[in-house]
């Protein structure tokens, strides 16, 4: 088939909501765009394990310890499906990890914030996973098949994590005065970074329009952010906590909450490497990778010896 025909076929599939599959022809820019998004998503799952794993050893009950371990393990599992989905676009997991470890590839900036008290584990589950789900439910309809299918599975687990996180917040907010204070402190620190997870305003988002046209992205950053704010506010009220935004108020006319300006300077500062934990996160990833090199080599060497013996 001629290039123009291939392009027409691709366009008509997008138009008719037919998923693009790994062996289908696709424009190079579409492939790159998906690869960037899926690998960033995979990296976010893996780096995202770190701030939560930070509290496993200090979880305050055995039930909470087991739940948190299982949750962080789920994130590793999400990383696995996503790396597999990204590999269908022609880049190996090793190459993607190299880009993560060298700092070339990005991951969600939210994981550059620290988890400072136990309520942070609640807030991360509730708000960070909550914001991620808002985004990922939309991605279940994304045009690239392997990504869409990975998202269906990821969303099921993430919504469980979100309930678990909110349940931690409930025990804290309805607990002793010290616990309530921890819950408020966690909410104060996580609220704005959670809103930044949806990315820059639509007018400033460099990849957005093309991604929407290709149906990689299904809903705009600002619409998703608004949806998240609208559904979170009643949850905050139920907990009896307050949000660190004096401009927050219901707008009858719009049918949405109005909210104050987001500090985009902070957002770009953290993305460009100057967040509170960027250095720690990358160091931890590099250390795990480098310390594990001899293990991976030995496992390969052993597998080869086995194969030679069988042959």
């Amino acid at each position: 088939m001629e290039q123009a025909d291939l392009q027409r076929l691709f366009d008509s599939k997008i138009e008719q909501e037919i998923r693009i599959e790994p062996k289908d022809w696709m424009p190079e820019a579409y492939r790159k765009n998906n690869l960037r998004q899926i690998s960033q998503h995979a990296h976010s799952e893996i780096v995202g394990m770190l701030p939560e794993a930070n509290w496993i050893s200090r979880a305050p009950s055995l039930r909470r310890k087991v739940a948190l371990l299982a949750k962080v393990q789920d994130e590793a599992g999400h990383g696995l499906y996503l790396y597999s989905a990204a590999e269908t676009l022609g880049t190996s997991r090793d190459e993607m990890l190299e880009d993560l470890n060298s700092g070339k590839a990005k991951y969600s900036s939210i994981f550059n914030y620290p988890t400072l008290n136990w309520a942070d584990i609640g807030a991360v589950g509730w708000l960070v996973d909550g914001a991620a789900i808002t985004n990922q439910v939309a991605l279940c309809r994304t045009s690239y098949g392997p990504y869409a299918r990975a998202m269906v599975r990821v969303c099921k687990e993430e919504s469980f994590h979100q309930r678990q996180g909110y349940e931690i917040m409930m025990s804290m907010a309805f607990g002793t005065p010290e616990q309530k204070q921890m819950a408020q402190d966690a909410l104060n620190r996580w609220w704005w970074p959670a809103l930044m997870m949806f990315g820059p305003n639509d007018s400033e988002s460099p990849h957005s329009q093309q991604s929407l046209n290709w149906k990689i992205k299904r809903v705009s950053n600002d619409d998703l952010r608004q949806e998240f704010i609208d559904k979170s506010i009643p949850q905050v009220e139920y907990l009896g906590l307050t949000l660190p935004d004096p401009d927050l108020k219901w707008n009858e006319e719009r049918g949405h909450y109005d909210f104050g300006p987001i500090d985009w300077e902070e957002f770009y500062r953290v993305i460009s490497g100057n967040g509170p934990c960027n250095k720690d996160r990358l160091e931890a990833r590099n250390k795990a990778h480098n310390d594990g090199a001899w293990v991976r080599e030995a496992a390969m060497a052993f597998a080869e010896k086995r194969q030679t013996n069988v042959a």
């Binding site: 893996i46 394990m49 770190l50 794993a53 496993i56 050893s57 200090r58 979880a59 305050p60 009950s61 055995l62 039930r63 909470r64 310890k65 087991v66 371990l69 299982a70 962080v72 393990q73 590793a76 599992g77 990383g79 696995l80 790396y83 136990w118 931690i168 025990s171 804290m172 607990g175 002793t176 010290e178 616990q179 931890a284 250390k287 795990a288 990778h289 310390d291 594990g292 090199a293 001899w294 293990v295 991976r296 080599e297 030995a298 496992a299 060497a301 052993f302 010896k305």
Partner: protein, 251 residues
Amino acid sequence: MSPNQSFELCLRMGDNALILGQRLAEWCGHGPILEQDIALTNISLDLIGQSRLWLSLAGQIEGQGRDEDKLAFFRDSNEFRHLNLCEQPNGHWGTTLMRQFLFDAFHLPLLEQLCKVEDQQVASIAQKSVKEVRYHLRWSSEWVVRLGAGTDESHEKMQQALLDVWPFAGEAIQPNAFDLELTETCPPYNVQAVNKAWWSSVNEVFNQANLDVPEANWAPQKGREGIHTERLGFILAEMQFLPRAYPDAQW
């Protein structure tokens, strides 16, 4: 089994699982490859899950209102009854796997025996755990062999790991007074059979892994009597911090 005996046994089993599970959880997010990070976390989850069952039963037998969390978070180091092997540091991946193998090779035959004891509550926890631990032993044995017989570097690291961990392994299979008492009063529990099964796994796996088995001149360890190594205090300081700092809180 008398209530005192089953209480003591539950603490031993629960503390082994809890302290080793706590150690393994330190790896979560830091493993050498994603699949193995997940696998090791699974073992940690199994062990902490088992510890909840054993400690809950211990509290129930004791009848003083202590539940799994009271026992996990409000005992001091001299009240813990696990093997000192379980609290040793993770070291590198090979050290962790070596410690795991030496523990699993003991844990499995022990649980197999407990599956058959008359005490139904003990037997039922053992029956649930044995399925998990059978897999743990398979997995850790495979890794010891893979790394022992992998590259020159991995072989050297595993031989060193074995030397490092070995001094703590003897406690698992050297009977103390309680083991001898149980062997006498609670058949089919038999401490010698655990010892025999352990040696059989150790010889087979180290043979396949090309590792030299060190001499069995073990330094005395008394973790089971509550005398631990300096490591435990730090594990507890971290693990118990929140419930002790806020004793009135529900989490």
